[in-house]
């Protein structure tokens, strides 16, 4: 596979929520972008822009109302199981089982991904070394600190060695040290040739790790391109440029 293979392709993803009494809420309309192997793709937008909805559609938790997407060639609507097997997903909403230990959590998800027990044990050791989790692998998750939990979550995300990682605001609510773990992890994944889709509302994070980005606002892609292109169109102050894109959309 060439390094530039498009692993994540969103084609006109739209989602409309139906509420009570026939009221509808349009979360996204016509989201299009593509992310390649070996790159970090930033999905930037303010709260409520439709980032989480988009990522949930990519990970098949939500079914798109219009359009579709494919992950590593598998369509999210027709083959959700294969899509889920191909991605690792991490967000503030992916919690750990408080009454289980990290080792048990990893074993559980390993089995769900169909990994043999020896492979699960080997991956657990490997990730434990990499993320420095040795001290708390056998403590119950409810006894762990936020940073420790985040490490376990990261380990769960990459346990089955997926080609695509989808991270929904992975640094939200974390302190500098824990955020640092995430950023390092994202860079390492890029180094391993994975495709990382990374959503955030913080421009600075995009500038630090992303190769390309899409700015989402009001459920649409307002800008798409490389960081260099964004800089070119906006000048050096990226924060200002981000705000200008949002204002233009309003």
């Amino acid at each position: 596979m060439p390094a530039s293979a498009e692993l994540v392709v969103a084609r006109g993803l739209g989602k409309t929520y139906r509420g009570a009494k026939g009221a509808t809420t349009v979360a996204t309309t016509d989201i299009c972008f593509a992310a390649r192997a070996g790159e970090v793709f930033g999905l930037l937008g303010p709260n409520g822009a439709g980032k989480t909805t988009t990522l949930r559609m990519l990970s098949t938790v939500l079914t798109p109302t219009t359009g579709t997407a494919s992950i590593d060639g598998h369509d999210v609507v027709s083959h959700p199981d294969r899509v889920r097997a191909a991605i690792g997903f991490l967000s503030g909403n992916t919690g750990l089982y408080p009454r289980l230990t990290p080792r048990e959590v990893l074993a559980y998800f390993g089995r769900l991904y169909g990994l043999p027990d020896e492979r699960i044990a080997a991956r657990t050791e490997e990730l434990s070394r990499l993320l420095d989790m040795g001290g708390f692998l056998d403590k119950r998750c409810d006894a762990l600190s936020t940073g420790m939990k985040q490490k376990v979550n990261v380990a769960r995300t990459v346990l089955h060695d997926p080609k695509v990682l989808i991270l929904d605001e992975p640094t939200a609510g974390l302190d500098v040290l824990a955020s640092r773990t995430i950023i390092d992890f994202v860079r390492r994944c890029r180094g391993e040739g994975k495709c990382v889709v990374f959503s955030t509302h913080i421009m600075a994070e995009v500038a630090r790790v992303c190769d390309r980005l899409a700015i989402i606002h009001k459920g649409r892609v307002q800008f798409g391109g490389t960081i260099a292109e964004f800089r070119q169109s906006a000048g050096e102050d990226l924060e200002e440029a981000f705000l200008r894109v949002l204002e233009r959309a309003a």
Partner: protein, 506 residues
Amino acid sequence: MNLRRVLVIARKEFRDVMRDRRTLFFMLLLPIVVIPALLMVVTGFLKSQMKERETRVLTYAVEPQGKVLLKALANHWMSENMTAYTAVSARLGIEAFGGIDDISRVADRVQALEDAGDKQGGVGDAAVMAWVSAWRDLNEDQQQMLRDLGAVSRFLDQTKWIGLDKLPAAGPLPQGVTVPPDLPGGLGKESVAASITSREKAVHAALYVPPGDVDEWLNVDPRSAVSLPVTILYDSSQSLSREAFDRFQGFIDALNRSEVRGRLTAVQFGRDFVRPVAMNEVNIASKGREAQAFIGGMLPYLIILFCFFGAFYPSLDLTAGEKERFTLETLLLAPVSRVEIALGKFLVVFTAAVTAAVLTMASLAFTFTYGILPEGATAAFDLHFEVPAVLLTASLLVPVAALFASVLLTVALCARSFKEAQSYATPLQFLIILPAMTALMPDLQTELKWAWVPLMNVSLLMRELLKGNYLWDFYAITLISMFLLSGLTLWIASRVFRRESVLLRT
């Protein structure tokens, strides 16, 4: 759908809920420890209440001359019957004068055995058993004399007297209580009624006995005989006041029987002269069988209820609880289908419900058999815990547990939080209590039409099975009805688990 993945999910969920204290409490501790303990405490309390009522010293308000006459009447009874009870006590091997307590105990003991429906024998210490068999050799008059002896001696020994004029001050009469003003001996005074009905219960009944002595009232010319008019004022809505009435009535009945016997002998009339018709009463439905029917109805009710309790917490924990802990979305991101998730969770809740129900069944059977039976009445309570009946009962638990598990999972999944789920699921209890209680209605027969009503059919059928009645047609329809319903609810649950709006509602 992949069964291996369903089992992976079920295994993990099981491990997870087994570390939840609430689940453990409702699944294991409640049936094994709390039910027997509660039942024993409650029945123990009831028994001691009853005993306390029977042995309690009661206070009668009466004028002094009335008290004198009542005591004289009691002594008169004793002397009239002395020959008879000396003879009887000799046959029972009890010392005649020191053993009045023992003699009345024999009567009570036999009464208890007969109430429990035990006609053959019972369990007890050898001395009592010897009395009981001697008792059974006595003739009807002698047995009646012993019962009357109990009534007379209880009235004499367990009574405190208080003068009508020395009544403690009491408040006004409770609403709705009226006393006819023309009662004899001042019983019509409001203060008397007020002290009987007052909260302090210092006085349990008031008596009026006209003046005179025993000879004046009892040794009369047969042609001009007049009854001694005694009046008792009591409040049947209070148990102790009712007990005071019962004791007094027992005492008067004993007096009358003894006196009539004496008068008939004096005029050389046979006993049957004052009994033109003799009714022989044979009641097959003893109190023992009534109790058996009650326990037989209790078991299905409790088993169904605790089956529900067993399913309650795990179902909430695995749905709304997971939403609250943000673990549901993690699971949705794994390459498993939502039907597999639903089934995995279902299996765990189902197991918890069956476990709770089976434990309840075992624990109740054990408690009723060994724990709370009235002593000496084991045979009467012989519930038919036959192996086939137990197995059939257990087979009924399968659709019941499936129904509870799928309904609770569905309802709880729709909630955003554990608390919300609790407020949805708790009212369901009332939906199941009513059909489950039908076994407690002894008049409700197991007609085939009821076999179609879910839960009610299970409840009624369990009752019959535990009594040893194998109703195969009823069983077949019950299974069909229950499996159809639980299949439907399970299907609904799997549909709901596919709805993203429900799964992601937080």
